[in-house]
């Protein structure tokens, strides 16, 4: 099934695109998607930031599935459907 990813800033640079279409096996969970991002882009992300991509996605970023905020860790087990869109955003604290 196809999932669309929408990313910004550092992630956009590492993945080299603002929008990415990912192919995942049916019934993949959010966790599977994040692990697959770690697999494909983890070393590029580490080069840029000295941080683990998976850990950053789970701890630092805000994840929105079809425009609704995901709660981590509960929603890591949410099962994705064909055509879902995941937006990954940095929170903004001020300044």
């Amino acid at each position: 099934m196809k999932i669309t990813l929408n990313v910004f800033s550092t992630l956009r640079r590492v993945i080299e695109s603002k929008f990415v279409e990912l192919e995942l096996p049916r019934n993949s969970t959010v966790k599977k998607l994040l692990s697959s991002l770690q697999g494909n882009y983890g070393s590029g992300y580490k080069n840029e930031t000295s941080r683990s991509l998976y850990d950053s996605l789970v701890e630092r970023y805000d994840l929105f599935l079809n425009k609704k905020a995901l709660l981590i860790p509960q929603d890591l087990d949410v099962i994705l459907k064909d055509g879902d869109e995941l937006v990954i955003l940095l929170p903004s604290g001020g300044g």
């Binding site: 800033s9 956009r12 640079r13 805000d62 905020a69 955003l89 929170p91 903004s92 604290g93």
Partner: protein, 623 residues
Amino acid sequence: MYGSKGKLLRVNLTKNEVTKEDLDEKIVKTFLGGRGLGAYVLYRELKPGVDPLGPENKLIFATGPVVGAPFAGNARYVVMGKSPLTGGWGEASAAGWFGPQLKFAGFDAIIVEGKAEKPVYLLVNDGEAEIRDANHLWGKIIGEVQDKIREEVNNDKLCVASIGPGGENLVRYACIISDLHRAAGRCGLGAIMGSKKLKSIAVHGTEGVKVHDSGKLRELAKIAVKEAMDGWGDGLHKNGTDRILEDLSGSGRLPTKNFQLTSFSGDQKITGETMTDKILVNRWHCYACPVGCIRIVKAEQPYIVDPAYGGPEYETAASFGSMCLNDNLVSIAKANELCNKFTIDTISAGVSIAFAMECYEKGLIDEDDVDVDLSWGNYETIVKLIEKIAFRNGIGDLLAEGVMRAAEKLGGDARKYAMHIKGMELPMHEPRGKKGVGLSYATSNRGACHLQTIHDDTYEKKKDLVPEIGLDTALSRYDTSESKARMVKIGQDLWGLYDCMIVCKFTPHPAGIKLKTLNGIFNAITDWSFSEKDLMAVGERAFNLCRVFNVREGVTRMDDTVPERFSEPVSETVSQGQTFTQKTLSKMLDYYYRCRGWDEKTGIPTRETLERLNLGWVAKDLK
């Protein structure tokens, strides 16, 4: 006393006199410094109804007990006075070296009163102060002024805070700038300085800050550095405050086209990472801080941009960028440079220009009446307008008044496009996407301000909560419940505490340094054994005193509003459908006033609340 110097400098420009005064330890223990000390002095010494641009207004430059002691985030100062923009509490803070140098010179604060007959500057050097002639400096941009003063005093280490033509011409949002690019930006405090004919204050000192337990401080300062860099520090170092622009746009929360939109197609061109790639030449550090969030930029085309004047922060990139539909990064950097040279606030200037562009679009400003093309996105116009505003030329004279007064002059629907609260232009955070910030905009004592409370994003996750001070509930950024109102109040008290100590908001919670560490640092410096509760009470006390200052000037619940524009739903991305209506705000105000211990109908602090905060002595002034 440890930390504080126990000394104030009072400068009477009418009498041309400088006097040194003792600062009582009791007052410092109650208010610390910064906002608290300034509010205490101004509340007592200013009568209500004073003309902000008249000689009876006062201007205070305040440090705090921890300023100048060696730890990350200790390098700020706060300037205060009755604002020419809002007619109420005026306050702005800045970074760099001025605050520490004032402490090293032997003073906690400077109180400026009266008005000089001719332009003057104040020199403060190792315990002594002198008012000097500045006739030859009046009209000059701040770089020239700094050079000349250092040369004539023969001290190239002098830290100089100045006004440029913006302050001299009483632009209502003129600012005060030190180190050529650190701005006490908002509320028009530069115009107060201009009205007093005070061009600059130059400070230098060699006396360190007395610390109670320097071993303990050293130990905690090391921990603080690690906590700060693990938090926001690393990201701020790399790409500055503007690193958030692209993600704000992506989340439908970037002020765009005068707040008509919330996402900008040109976001990648003006975001922090692009600034780093294209025009960044250096990163600048405040005294004792490893973060280095400050940008130094240089460019040649289409404008020559001088790195001596720093570089754009996020607020500036958005106010001259997305707000005006401008995606030309160098023009934003040029506008920033000119705002610094001429000393006008970049946020208010950008919002004023966006206002003009919308009025032009809607036919309220005729193209025959102006000699600039006010079409959206015209970056040449933006750059031209900075100078026109600073020198009050043509339409610059109208825009120099700020959007509230400009809209009154234009009449018709103009006030719908004037994005201000209590007279101060809105900064670059969307209330529809950060509803706690929306409530804080409405209740901020200096008018619309994004630096009063912790932003909603930072307590969406359980792991970022601080339950010991009541930040105990993870809430969505869009939540408007009683819990959210309570969190806003607690955040205002915490960040208000920072404005009294004074510490930078980019190192302590939520930026990284834990409250426990900061508490330890405070006690290691001062020897006062304050608990976290004691510290939070300082922040709450100062916030309430500033509120009472405003109430005395006539502010009530009616003034705690947000612009009508936010009743329109967001159309972009994950914030789609979100609104921030007067009805929502009204409900949140009910919760908030209850939390604060203020009268729900009027928004006035109750006698009971004032007495609990050791402010019972102001209760007699309130009906």
